[in-house]
C-alpha cells in the first residue's frame, strides 16, 4: 500500500479527524518546546498595557492601583479614542469591600462575582472584546436552548 493510500484511508473517515488534529497540536507543541529551549521565544518587557503586581494587596493579582474616581496614569494605545481614560480605575461593591477586609486571598473571588471589579483597562480601552465575548456566550446559549427545547412541543 502506498503512503498516499494509507493517509487517505485515515483521513476519509471523519471520525478520525479529531485524533489527527490532536496529533498536529502535539507536533506544534513540540516545536514550541524546542523553540523555547533554543531561546527563540523571549518575553517583551515593554508591554502595551503595563501592569505591576503588588502581592500585599487583597485584590492581588487584579489590583491596578489608584483611587476610584481619581485620575490615574493609564497608558492607552490610541489616546485620542479614550479621552476619559484613567478617571475610574476600579469600583468595588460593598460585598467586595467586605471580602477584601476578611482575607487577603480572595482576589479571584472578588473579580468573579458580578459587580466585583470594573476593570477600566478592559471596559474603556478594549471595549470591543467584552462585546464580542458576550455575543459568543449569547449565541452558545441560544444553540443550547434550541437543542434542549426542540422536543417539547
Amino acid at each position: 500500500m502506498t503512503i498516499i493510500r494509507k493517509v487517505s484511508r485515515i483521513l476519509q473517515n471523519h471520525n478520525n479527524l479529531t485524533a489527527v488534529y490532536a496529533l498536529v497540536v502535539i507536533i506544534v507543541a513540540a516545536i514550541g518546546l524546542i523553540s523555547v529551549a533554543v531561546g527563540d521565544i523571549t518575553f517583551e518587557k515593554n508591554q502595551l498595557y503595563p501592569k505591576t503586581i503588588n502581592p500585599d494587596s487583597p485584590l492581588n493579582p487584579y489590583d491596578r492601583g489608584g483611587e476610584p474616581f481619581a485620575l490615574a496614569d493609564i497608558k492607552a494605545q490610541y489616546p485620542d479614542n479614550s479621552p476619559n481614560l484613567g478617571y475610574i480605575t476600579g469600583y468595588l461593591s460593598p460585598l467586595a469591600i467586605l471580602l477584601t477586609k476578611i482575607s487577603p486571598h480572595l482576589g479571584t473571588t472578588i473579580v468573579a462575582h458580578p459587580g466585583g471589579i470594573l476593570d477600566e483597562i478592559l471596559y474603556s480601552t478594549r471595549g470591543l472584546d467584552t462585546i464580542v465575548e458576550t455575543s459568543i456566550l449569547f449565541v452558545a446559549f441560544t444553540t443550547a436552548m434550541f437543542l434542549y427545547r426542540r422536543d417539547e412541543e
Partner: protein, 242 residues
C-alpha cells in the same frame, strides 16, 4: 534605549491615524488601508484585500437573510409519487439567525484590527457553525456536529495561546503596531494561530461528509463554507504580515 524601541513599535503615531487620510497602514500583502473604525483602543480597518472579502461576506449574509429554505423533493421509484420535505418554522428561524450571526462574525473577523479580536471572532464563527449544523434533526448530521464541536473546542486552545504568545513576545496585539514594526512574531505563535483557525474552519469537511449541503439545511449551510473560506484568507494575510 528600550523605551524608544517600544514607542516606535507599540504606539503608532496618532497623526498617522488621524492626520492625513492618505497615510494609512501599510500591510504586507495588500497595500494601504482604506478605512478605519475605532472602538476604544481597538481600531478596525479595511484594505483593498479585506474590502473584497467583506463585500463577499456581506453579499452572502444578505442572501441568507432573505432566502427561503430549500425543500427537498424525494421521488418514489416505481411510482408517480413524490413528496416534499417540510422545514419546521422554528428550525428555519433558528438556522436563519445562526447564518446571519455567522455572517456578522465573519465580517467582524475580516475587519479586526487586533489579533485577539480576530481569534475571538474566529471562535464566534465556530460556535455559529455548530449551531447551523446541529439544527438539522438527523442522527448522522448530529453525530457530525458533535465531532466538529469537539474539534472546535480543542482548536480554541492553540488559537488563544497563539494570541497570548503574540502579546507576550511583541508587547502588543494591535495589527497597527504589528504590521509596521520590525518586531518578529515567533514561528511558534504563527503556527498556533494557523492550526487554531484550521480547527474552527474545518466545518465544511463535516458538512460535506454529512451530505447536508442540499438537504434540509440549505441555503443557510452556505454560510458555513463562506465563513471558513474568508477566515482562512484573513488568517493568511495576518500570518504573512505580522
Amino acid at each position: 534605549m528600550i523605551n524608544t524601541v517600544c514607542d516606535e513599535m507599540c504606539l503608532p503615531p496618532t497623526d498617522m491615524l488621524y492626520g492625513s487620510p492618505y497615510e494609512f497602514l501599510e500591510t504586507g500583502i495588500e497595500g494601504q488601508a482604506l478605512f478605519n473604525l475605532p472602538f476604544g483602543d481597538i481600531v478596525n480597518f479595511l484594505t483593498p484585500y479585506t474590502a473584497v472579502l467583506f463585500i463577499f461576506a456581506l453579499t452572502f449574509t444578505i442572501i441568507a437573510a432573505i432566502s427561503k429554505p430549500e425543500r427537498q423533493v424525494d421521488t418514489v421509484f416505481g411510482g408517480d409519487a413524490c413528496y416534499t420535505k417540510d422545514i419546521p418554522q422554528d428550525t428555519l428561524r433558528f438556522q436563519r439567525f445562526m447564518a446571519i450571526a455567522c455572517g456578522l462574525a465573519t465580517m467582524g473577523g475580516i475587519m479586526a484590527g487586533d489579533v485577539f479580536n480576530f481569534t475571538l471572532f474566529t471562535a464566534f464563527i465556530g460556535i455559529t457553525n455548530i449551531g447551523i449544523v446541529a439544527a438539522v434533526k438527523n442522527k448522522h448530521i448530529l453525530d457530525n456536529a458533535f465531532e466538529y464541536g469537539l474539534l472546535a473546542m480543542i482548536g480554541t486552545l492553540p488559537l488563544f495561546v497563539g494570541a497570548a504568545l503574540v502579546l507576550a513576545t511583541t508587547g502588543t496585539l494591535s495589527m497597527w503596531g504589528l504590521f509596521n514594526s520590525s518586531a518578529a512574531v515567533p514561528l511558534f505563535a504563527k503556527l498556533l494561530l494557523v492550526i487554531g483557525v484550521i480547527a474552527e474552519g474545518m466545518a465544511p469537511v463535516f458538512v460535506a461528509k454529512a451530505e447536508i449541503t442540499r438537504a434540509p439545511g440549505a441555503p443557510f449551510i452556505l454560510m458555513v463554507h463562506v465563513s471558513s473560506l474568508l477566515i482562512f484568507l484573513r488568517m493568511i494575510e495576518i500570518v504573512i504580515s505580522v
